[in-house]
Structures are given as C-alpha cells and as structure tokens.
C-alpha cells in the first residue's frame, strides 16, 4: 500500500484511528472524526478548550475528502491529492507519532509457544552535499541469536500483530540488550557507508574550495571594514557546502515473533 492509492490510504489511516469511514464511491470519502482526530487535524484548540471548560462533550467534525477531482458528482469537500495540505498534515502526524512499537505476532497456537524478541529499526540515511539524497533501510535483529535480517518490514508485511501477548504464548527475554543490539546495527551501517563511492563528498568539497577561493580573491584588496562581511560570507559557504551524513531512525520497536518466521526467511 502506498500513496498511489489515496482512497485506500486515507481510509486505512482513519479506520486505524477508530473513525467511521464511508467510501461513498471511488473518489469520495466521508469521515466522521473522533475527538482525538479532530484535535489532531482540525486546528481548533479554542473550541475544545471551551468545551472542556464548560463541561460539554463537544462534537467532532466530519471530513469529506475528494481524491478524484474529475468525479462527475461534484460536492463540497477538500481535494486530497499528493502535496495537498491535508495529506501533508497526515503524513507529518504519522511520522511524528508512529515512532515506537511493541508488538506480538498474532497467532493462535494450541500448545505453549515461545515468541522470539526482535529489534526492528527503520533507518533513513540522509546524504547532504550540494544536493540531498536519502536511503531507507529496514533492519531486524534477533535479540536471542544475533541474526540480522534486512528488508525486515517487507518480510513482516503479510503478518499480523497485536499489542497484547496471544494466548498460550510466552515471550522470551532478550539475551542481547536493546542498546547493544542497536550498536550492532549501527556498525553494519557504518561499514556500509565507508564502503560507498564518495564522489559526491569530493564534489561538494571541491565546490566549497572553489567558492572560498573566489571569495578570498574578491575581498583580497581587503580593507578592514569588509572583514565582517567576508567572515559572514565564508561561514555561509562553509555551512552550505559541508558534506554531512545523518543516520536517523524513523521508527522501530520490539517485535515478538514466532520461530517459524526465521525459518521462512532462510
């Protein structure tokens, strides 16, 4: 599921937040917000503040999202397209809130079954030079035996999870602590970054050198009064053309998986 099917995207999102969603027809979506969603998305803090003060319950709003602007049945609502403020808001909301998870494999065994702890990290590497580029990794680490699995989210994709321990299941305690588990993942990524082609770093640095030398040449006749300006320009260039790599965990968590998961991956 991706943003290419916006209908589906919006309705999954709102349903996951316990909102009633009516997909009238393809292209038009009616959502009855919950109080929590209204507060998160509708930007009316004073209303809710007032309701709270006066001891009233308040009435969450309804939202109509049109994903197909060519829909013949024109009705009031907002156009939700890629880049629309509403979608952006939801994306920000997701990125901001769905950062940590602790989930158990949803299985219904009849005998006592152990669940294995995994550290799952979804990591974005941001390369910043003259331009920016990003890479996304999903890495899982078995906290019992240290086995590492890439494309973890893709491997988990078809499974289902719940937030409580299923019947007849018992989670095993990790042998590897979370912090040291993360350090292992970090080391793998460090190695990965080191092995890369770093032409872009060189290009950025060359450009920086070039611009700095131009700057110097420009202020060469240098009277004192321009010194401050020179320093300012110099800092500007250095900041702008400082090659940087930022490794950022976008979300992750502790996942308890059935043993068969690991077997299936092999």
């Amino acid at each position: 599921m991706a943003l290419s099917q916006l209908d589906h995207f919006f309705s999954t999102y709102f349903k996951a937040h316990q909102c009633d969603v009516h997909l009238k027809e393809n292209g038009i979506l009616k959502v009855q917000l919950t109080k929590e969603m209204d507060q998160a998305l509708m930007n009316r803090p004073f209303y809710w503040h007032y309701m709270e003060k006066t001891g009233q319950t308040g009435e969450p709003m309804q939202l109509t999202i049109i994903t197909d602007p060519s829909h013949p049945d024109q009705q009031p609502g907002e156009w939700g397209h890629l880049g629309s403020p509403r979608l952006q808001q939801i994306i920000d909301h997701l990125k901001m809130n769905e950062t940590h998870a602790k989930l158990y494999h949803h299985i219904s065994p009849t005998t006592e079954t152990p669940l294995y702890p995994w550290l799952v990290t979804n990591i974005k590497i941001i390369y910043q030079g003259k331009q920016t580029r990003e890479e996304l990794f999903s890495i899982g680490l078995n906290l019992i035996n240290g086995m590492m699995q890439t494309n973890m989210m893709e491997a988990l994709n078809t499974l289902s999870f719940q937030r409580t321990i299923p019947d007849f299941c018992f989670p095993l305690s990790p042998l590897i602590r979370l912090k040291s588990g993360y350090r292992r993942i970090e080391n793998v990524l460090k190695q990965y970054i080191n092995d890369q082609d770093h032409t872009w770093v060189k290009e950025t640095l060359d450009m920086r050198e070039h611009e700095l030398s131009l700057l110097q040449h420009f202020y060469e006749t240098g009277d004192e009064e321009h010194e401050a300006l020179y320093k300012k320009e110099e800092t500007d260039i250095k900041n702008r053309l400082q090659p940087k790599i930022h490794v950022h965990v976008i979300n992750g968590g502790l996942f308890y998986l059935n043993q068969s998961f690991q077997h299936n991956q092999k």
């Binding site: 599921m1 991706a2 943003l3 995207f9 999954t12 999102y13 349903k15 397209h81 890629l82 880049g83 629309s84 952006q88 994306i91 997701l94 990125k95 809130n97 769905e98 950062t99 940590h100 998870a101 602790k102 989930l103 979804n122 003259k130 331009q131 580029r133 990003e134 890479e135 996304l136 999903s138 989210m153 994709n157 289902s160 937030r163 979370l178 770093h198 872009w200 770093v201 640095l205 030398s213 131009l214 700057l215 110097q216 040449h217 420009f218 202020y219 060469e220 300006l229 500007d236 400082q242 090659p243 940087k244 790599i245 490794v247 965990v249 976008i250 979300n251 992750g252 968590g253 502790l254």
Partner: protein, 548 residues
C-alpha cells in the same frame, strides 16, 4: 574522509528502552506500517531531478520553467539570477525551486522581498499554487517566528526590522525586481548583502547582462568573487577595451549564475496583441495654443518648452500645473504666464479625452486600463469619464499597499476603468483586463513594454487590445512615427531592443531624445536627428537578427 560529518541518531534507542521497560503506549501495527510506507514513498532517492512536480498536480509548468528550476537546483546550487523576460513566469520558477527545497528538507526559513504592491500577490500564488504556507509581514509580527515570510524591501530594510533580519540564518532568500539592487552604494544593496543566507534567488526582468556594473553587483550578492573584485573587473571590462576572448569568458561566467529565457526561445505566444494607433487632431483653438507655446513661450523658457508641449498634448490640467509652478517661482514675465494660463482655461475639452470616450463606448462593457504620464491628467480623466457615466478608479505608485489592493479589487469587480500613472505600472497583475489605452506614450519603450506586461503576460489566454493615442502635428507625431513605428516597437519584443541599446551605450533612451529636442533649433532639425538615431538602432537590430 575527514571532512565528512556523520551523525548517528541516539535518541531512538533510549526512548525504546524506556517504553519497553515501563509499558508505555505504542503504535498499532497498521499505523506503524503506514508510517514506514509513507517514509518509503516520500524518500528522496536521487540527487537529481525535480520532485516538486509530483506534488503539484494542478499546476502546469512550461518546459522552460521546469528547465530553469532544474538547472538552479542541480547546477547552480540554489544561487541564481532569474532574468526571464517580462511575463514568462519567473514567480512560478521561484515557487518551484522553493517547493523543491522544502520537499527535500533543505529549506525551512525563507525570506521573500518584493515590491510593496506585489506582497499579497506573492502570498496568494505561493499558497494557492504551491501549497506553501507563506505569510505577508504585518505590523507586530516577529521575523523569527514566521518561517516563510513575504515583505517589501522598503519595510524590511528599516529599523528595527533590518537588525532582526540580519540576526536570522535564512535558508533561502528570494528578491523580486532585483534590479533595484544594481547600485552597490545604496542602502538596499548593503541591507541585502548582509542577510545570512544559504540559497538565494534574484528575479529581474531587466536584461542586466550588458550593463557591467549592474551585473557585477548582482553577482556579488550571490557569489562574491565570481567575477573578480570590483576594481579589477571595472578596469578590465568597463574602462578598458576587453578582447573578444575576455567577453566570451565573461559571458560564460555569467551563464553560471544567470538564466534568461526570451519569448522567442520559449515560443510562447499565449495570445495575440492587437495594436492600434489612433491619430487625433487638435481642434483649431488647441492647435493655435500649441503653436504659441512652441514659438512664443518656448523661446523664453527653452528648457521647459518640451515639457509644456508634452503636457498640453496630455491635458490642459497637466500644462496648467507646470505653468503655475513656474509662475510661482519666477519674478518677471508673470503676466505673460498668467496670460497663457488664462488661455488654457478657455480651450475646449481636450481632443484626446473626447477620443477616449469614443473608444471606451466602442469597447462596450469590458474592462479598460488607461495609462498616462501625468497625475493632473489622471485626475482630469477620472472627472471627465464620470461626466460621461463611466466609472473608474485611480492607481499610482504612491498608494499604500492596502489601497493598491483595494483599488485593484474595485476595478476587478465594480468599476470599468482603471486610470494608472507610470509608477503604478510595476508589478501589478491585471490579466482579467484585455484593453489598454495609452493616453500618452512614454519616450522610453521599456516602460511601454512594462505597461503592456500588466495585461499581456504569462497566463493571459485572451487576445489583448492596445490603443495608442497620438496627436497629429505635435511632438507626439514625431515620437510615434520615428521612434515607435520605424522601429516597429509595438510588434517587437522590447527586451531585445533593450539589449541593443545597452550595447550602443544608450542607458536612457528618453533622455537621449530629450537632448535631441533641446539641442535642435527647429523641429525639422530634431526630426532629422531623431531619424538618425533610429536608423542606427535599426541597423543594430538587423545585425542582431542576422546573428541569430
């Protein structure tokens, strides 16, 4: 690589430990997965290309605009002069670049400086076309707290704003009508130079590439040193005679920081211009009076002769104001001046004004803009139109921003005619109007182009109609015939004329023409000289065209 900074996120794992330990609330599987999918989908997986396009489904960009945005981001590192000809959509280009940087997460804090009359228009376009939450600066706002702010250069450079702005690290600074920064000794220039900025876009429609000091100063804002230092640069290119090789080198350097598209290159002909010259004859009384000014008054105050003549061609009122000013100043000849002023009052209604009424009646119900050079004429016309049951609003440079907006709105919704003076012409977008009357022609063709650019610009889908009024047997006839008609200025894109003029080292065509009139003893002589001037220009135009 020592110079490469690598930062690993540490906060995540600490938080996870805490959450696991204390059984704090966590995400459901659906939402967790969605957040990952969203990250995957919005990933910037390449250094190149424009991502913004996918995010702006209801904006159709022209190829040259996309090309500009791409070049600025990929090759110019976000520091460029955008110098497309008037009406090719520089705002769109700047918006695209801003959007792209925002999507890529490289830009957050943005300062946009534009002429006061354009502040609201910019905000409007950014919000509606690009979904960029831009805010217009208002009294009481603080510069630090608004991420994307649009303000006028004049406001921003004043204390205390100027210090506030200089204390902020901006990611992107956009300056519209940047030719205002061409002089490095002005306050504007110093102010802009001291703003801390990562990326910077300078927008200008004036082709600065042939004016060396101007281009030098603009480039120095973007990339100090790119063209060397001032003294060395001026010695080599402005004072000395640079070799063709030098010139070629300079052009290459400029190309690295400036993008200029012409209408010709882009093949944009959104709609046609229909240009009509309308000849008007003075009534007999008016003609007599005109001749008297030329011969009697002209001999006494030769320096002002031309001014009076141009004014009487516009309105009695315009001429009256100048006569009055003169008579207040001088000590002798007062009687004679008063005699002229009285004579003015006895003249019939101005022949051109009558013609304007005819034209507007012919146009019917559609909106019309009238441009005049004189404030007095503006007042007069407003009154005169009202006498004929035609509603109008005035518009001029001195109006405050809100008044300008208000006048524009009034014109769009309630009035038929907008009467503007020259200074009101800059920047305002009046595409909903398709008729323009040039009540008197400016002597600088660039200004005419700017006038026309108000209604005939990128995005105009209907044909536009331009009516140029000129009085027979007056100085207007010469200007119309020799300057405009001979050079074919109405049809030609004037940007290229400007290129040629600056190559001929004519910085101000208007003052050039004035000098010709002043220094000539007779109208005949002036005509001959004017003819020479236009012939030289024409030859260069032909040369320019044969060069391609």
């Amino acid at each position: 690589m020592d110079e490469l900074e690598i930062v690993f996120d540490q906060s995540f794992i600490h938080q996870l430990e805490e959450i696991a330990l204390n059984d704090m609330p966590t995400s459901s599987w659906e939402l967790f997965k969605m957040a990952y999918d969203v990250q995957k989908f919005t990933l910037i997986d390449t250094f190149d290309g424009l991502l913004a396009v996918d995010y702006l489904p209801n904006l159709t960009c022209l190829p040259h605009q996309l090309n500009t945005a791409k070049r600025v981001i990929e090759h110019m590192n976000g520091r460029a002069i955008l110098a497309d000809e008037v009406g090719l959509g520089k705002t769109i280009e700047a918006g695209l670049i801003l959007k792209e940087y925002m999507i890529r997460g490289l830009v957050k804090k943005v300062l946009i400086l534009v002429p006061a009359s354009l502040v609201n228009q910019w905000v409007d376009e950014l919000v509606k076309k690009f979904y960029i939450p831009a805010t217009a600066f208002r009294k009481g706002y603080t510069w630090e707290h608004i991420d994307i702010i649009v303000a006028s250069l004049d406001t921003a450079k004043r204390a205390p704003h100027c210090d506030d702005i200089h204390n902020i690290d901006y990611d992107l600074v956009i300056i519209d009508e940047a030719h205002k920064l061409k002089n490095h000794q002005t306050k504007n220039y110093q102010f802009v130079k001291e703003i801390k900025k990562k990326y910077c876009l300078l927008l200008t429609a004036t082709p600065v590439q042939n004016r060396l000091s101007e281009i030098f100063n603009l480039v120095s804002i973007l990339k100090p040193g790119h063209l060397g230092n001032y003294e060395a640069f001026m010695d080599k290119y402005a004072k000395g005679t640079p070799t063709t090789e030098d010139n070629h080198y300079l052009k290459e350097l400029i190309k690295k920081v400036m993008i200029r598209h012409t209408r010709k290159e882009t093949n944009i002909k959104p709609s046609k211009r229909h240009i009509k010259t309308i000849w008007v004859n003075f009534s007999e009384d008016e003609q007599t009076f005109y001749n008297r000014i030329e011969h009697e008054l002209g001999n006494k105050v030769p320096l002002l002769k031309l001014t009076f003549l141009r004014e009487i061609c516009s309105s009695r009122e315009a001429c009256f104001m100048s006569l009055k000013k003169l008579s207040d100043k001088v000590k002798h000849q007062k009687d004679e001046l008063h005699d002229f002023m009285n004579g003015l009052q006895e003249l019939p209604q101005h022949a051109k004004a009558k013609k304007v009424i005819e034209i507007i009646k012919d146009i019917g119900d559609e909106k019309v803009i009238i441009f005049t050079e004189y404030r007095a004429t503006q007042y007069f016309l407003q009154w005169y139109l009202e006498q004929h049951g035609i509603s109008s609003v005035p518009y001029r440079g001195g109006f405050s921003r809100s008044k300008k907006d208000w006048m524009r709105q009034l014109f769009q919704h309630n009035r038929q005619v907008l009467i503007a003076t020259e200074a009101g012409g800059e920047g305002i977008n009046l595409q909903f109007c398709h008729h323009m009357i040039n009540y008197d022609l400016p002597w600088n063709p660039m200004r005419l182009e700017q006038r026309i650019g108000r209604i005939h610009r990128y995005g105009q889908e209907q044909d536009v109609y331009i009516y140029n009024l000129a009085l027979k047997r007056t100085v207007e006839e010469h200007i119309m015939n020799i300057l405009y008609k001979k050079l074919d200025l109405f049809e030609r894109v004037i940007g290229e004329l400007d290129d040629i003029l600056s190559r001929l080292l004519i910085t101000d065509l208007e003052s050039e023409i004035q000098t010709i009139f002043h220094k000539s003893r007779s109208t005949g002589e002036a005509k001959v000289k004017l003819n020479h001037l236009t012939t030289i220009i024409q030859e260069n135009v032909n040369l320019h065209e044969s060069e391609g």
